[in-house]
Amino acid sequence: MKNLDEIREVVRDPYGYAKKYKAKTHQKIVGYFCSYAPEEIIWAAGALPFRIFGRKGNIHLADQHLQSYCCSLVRSVLEEALSGELNFLDGAIFPHTCDSIQRLSDIWRLNVPFGFHTDVVLPVKLNTDSAREYMVSVLRVFRADLEKKLDVTITDDALKASMTLYDQLRSTLRKLYEIRAKRPDIISGSDVYHIVKAAVIMDREHLLTLLSGVVKELKQKKPDGVKFDRKRVVISGGVCDFPDIYQLIEEAGGSVVWDDLCTGMRSFEGDFDKTADPIEAVAGRYLDRVVCPAKHSGLTSRADHLVRMVREKAAQGVIILLLKFCDPHAFDYPYLKNALDREGVPSLLLEVEDQLPPEGQLKTRFEAFLEML
């Protein structure tokens, strides 16, 4: 598929893409690290929202600022900034999530010489009226702040157009997920990974065109007659920037049919309320969406959601991806595991850092887990 090739190309070299995009369009690029960054407002300001994933290994400069017990994601994105790799960014925004990202924001503000820096201190609890009111007010302040920093006016019309684009993009991504859930052999996990990653990096308009083409082709694809006999699994966790993991799961006899990742379903779940004021609609989506464990929306909401997802997607097991030193996810793990155990759903905990464990070891673990299902 030609469209997929183009997407894969972008994801292979995101910084190269960003620089080319900037040279071609003369648009600004705004970096972010988390699915709570209000991308729609950035896009409405005429800038490209660009999610930063960090590098694999080779961290020196960040060691001057962050201890070894800080997660590799935070350490590596700081390394990228300090080494100048990210100097194509016109600014970076820091929605409040965990304690480490919170300090990353301070350290970035004090040490990174290029681009503007903006904190978006969202509420941590999301299930009260006062939190909703605060969220809306913070997003309004952010909109005004971004107007100043990018020297633009963000009109309601521009915001609504941006939100329509995001709605379309997100619903197309959901369609892709639905197609895969029905026919997991129709597209590889690695391809889906590339598409979802492209959706937080690329020119969103262009991506929507490419993605619509991909979805159309997949829909037309006739079953090849081979019986699907791989095990259906769900991946749960935070950031998953490991294309290889999908292939390893597939080689071991499994298929990822859905996920609860902040670089997956959580980044495109939920529509905007079209009848609401645009900023209220942006806030509303965050408040209704399944949460990151650094946020609170009830005592069992994440486990309930995970169990429901497993049932709905007829998954046989769950692979829980845990980034070492990620406190919010690590504190949630026993409760998620217990909820799955109670439902008789087997799960596998996979601790990762900036790189995956050795391939041989991973393969053995996946094979043993999938065999059990």
Partner: protein, 417 residues
Amino acid sequence: MAEEMKVLDPEKEKRKIQSAKKMKEIMTAYYIEAKTAGETGKKVAWITSGGPVEPLIVMDVIPVYPENHGAMIGASRMGAALYEKAEAMGYASDLCSYACSDIACAPINGGPIGGLPRPDMLICCNNICGTVLKWYEIQARYFNVPLFILDTPFCHTEYTEEMRKYVRRQIDEYLRFLEEHCGKKYDYDRMKEVGKLSVTGQKLWQAVLDTTMHKPAPMSAFDAFFHLALIVTLRGTQQAVDYYEMLLAEMKQRITDDIGAIPNERYRLLWDNLPVWYRTKWLSEKFAAQDACLVADTYTSAWCGSLKYVDENNFLETMAECYTRIYLNIGVDEMARTVTAMVDKYDVDGIVMHSNRSCKPYSLGQYDIQRIVEKQKGIPSLMLEADMTDERKFSESQIETRIDAFIEILQEKKRKT
């Protein structure tokens, strides 16, 4: 019998803080009351160390502090064993050791006091970290009790009007939560008294800490770690006020009598981060042997650091800001300014920073604070990597070597001046 036969060292006896005995009595009585709440019919609320306890006092609810429990677990050297139990429950080995040891205590009534009394409700204020949110969610599920979250937005560079409104609204929600779960109306008149007592207690605690501006310092940070317990657990009560008045008088007397915390104070140091609970004695002796006294710290002063935002005659309206702008809920640069001001105030020669694997909001950013303060004040600093409660993360030989090297730097500097 062995006790009676022991010959007391008069030099050591002279330096012992007499109020400590009273403090132990108060804390013992407090824990007995809390542990027997089931018999007296009083309600028990677990609350985070930086949380607004005053409304609980108003409602006659006994506040219990899992973090104080964590400190006791650490001081009793039960941290590692309890953390291992938490690991067996599925918790990763590099999380907050307070949280993990407390979580492990609950199902087995473990730890130095046989577990904390069962809570009727949980009050979690995230002004100190995001970990307390996860910790209290876990305990709310375990005990199946209501949880109130006071969400205090992080003040990277400012305390905004939006934040003020949000936290103020939540204070009302907090009072409604208490009314619902205590089955009685909130007493606003009593709030005024408790608010005043809270502010008076905090001011007294600050005055106690300020006595170490004197040379030699009549007490050290290690003493402060101990005497801190009441401003955390009984803030807003007459008992805390009385105690700190007594302690302050004793410190003033020591100044008059020229009694220092250590026999020969040559180097005055500032401690940053939580104590290493299972090694406070070892560390205090280690530094004292080199004539170094830790005269102040950023940790114990956090319980009076935001006094500037509170109006004791209007506690209810001003507590939102007071609780939101505490030391750990502010940006790294503002923390560095606080440290710099303390370096001047207490006239310290160097800084000892505990890089605490358990506490990311306190520790991440320390390297930057270290550089800013070193540059501005021209004083050396020492970074010790350890953990507040988990003794497995403490390497004695490594830390000893680093302390010795640091003292040499201080000696060298003193010789030159």
